[in-house]
Amino acid sequence: MSTLGHIPVCVEPIGSVLDAQGMVGGGMAAILTELAVLLERLVQHGEPGAIDVRSLPLSPTERMRLIETLGAGEVDIRIQANGESHIRETSIPGVWWSEHRDSDGVLLVTLIEVARVPEMVAAADADLVRGAERLRAVLAPLCAAHGGTTHGTT
């Protein structure tokens, strides 16, 4: 009778295979080069940029090294919008590591963004309008109770 113990299982530490072949490094250098180009463009033209991590054939080790190399910066943002988004500034100002998850915590997309502030953080114009409307709606009964108008009278 065969049990689980009889099935030959070989546990390899993540990425050891690729490491042993000396194949790490090419992909990371390419990403860092692209980031440098995007950062220059941001400085000169104010144009934001981004790299989709999924589109890159990275080994798990390469990915870990990339995160290590980019390091951690000063800003750490968590957004609760139909699931959590976690946006961290890296040690390179203007370069952000952002992970977006759905309401079940499943990772949807990982981006390396190059921007002053990632677009998703800023409130959208349409939402600003709706917010102002809501604020006025909240304010109206309060002002009525004080017998004043909604416009300041000091």
Binding site: A20, P57, L108, V109, E113, A123
Partner: protein, 374 residues
Amino acid sequence: MGRPDLEPTIGELLDRHGVSRRSFFKYCTAMASLLALPPLAARALASQLRSAQRPSVIYLSFQECTGCLESFTRSFAPTIENLIFNVISLDYDDTLMAAAGAQAEQAREQAMRSHYGKYLLVVDGAVPTGDGGVYHCAAGRTGLDILTECAKGAAAVVCVGTCASFGGLPFADPNPTGARAISTLVPDKPVVNVSGCPPIPEVIAGTLLQYVSSGRVPDLDAHLRPTVFYGNSIHDRCYRRPFYDQGKFAKTFDDEGARSGWCLYELGCKGPTTYNACATLKWNNAVSFPIQSGHPCLGCAEPDFWDRGSFYSPIPSPRWGKAGEVSPAQAGDIAAGAAVAGAAIGLGSVMLARQRIKRYQRQPPQQSEPRNEE
């Protein structure tokens, strides 16, 4: 007919449901990644989607195993709920819908009437045409009949899975039911093939999403597959590709090479001739894909993948006849036969030549000068 567009846009629906722009933007960022768009295209995609209307979708199943629908319902991004409730209006799917029998058929007819010329027809499974189409019947009608009726008013047809796209398993030799691919039965409508056995869930969802956001059929390859998902071969995007280039191959499933994660080419991997997104999007929310799990690609997104010999015979293997790969003994037999035939022809031609020489020596032709033979 002549009914004004009273239906709300997707954006209006989202506002009504209280979905914030930020949530929607995040969703579109994920979609842009899925569709391999540049990351910053999310904003354009968001505005396109918001102003689009949800298309009515009719989903028909023919000769299939429901594996495609099983796959589809496991789409992580966009999730099937999200897609069904926000992006499309799934008006008929006999497996997913609550209604059954006459009520279900009524829902289909209703959707077809009110969205004539605009609804999207999604098909999984091949359609049997042999013996009058009797091998697939639903609600007392043949599959061919239902397909023809539903395709008439469709804006486009999306074939989900290899069976619908290329005939797949039912089409495999000897094809007893006369199964055919949908594109051969619907000649006058744009057809999009989303092949795979099953297709990657995100590819099915992404193709629908792309259609909704752009309002047109996406760019297609020679097999009518969206190039955004089927533009690269598995081999080209495979993380084991460096091993192929170095000539490092697993020879069996449990040798040193297999354990070291070397290339599976010699174990029959069809990655080089298969076009799909498995190596980039992967499966089960990007956990893995067959090659990452140590198994060669079967080439399930390509036409006739069932009839291409063993899944484990390498691509360059010669394949003679239906038996599959050629064996050395077989090659030897054929070579021996050919050699005997060659020897016989050689012998015959030599004898003929000698007879001619003899005739010539006995009675040289008058006009030409005698040659100095021997």
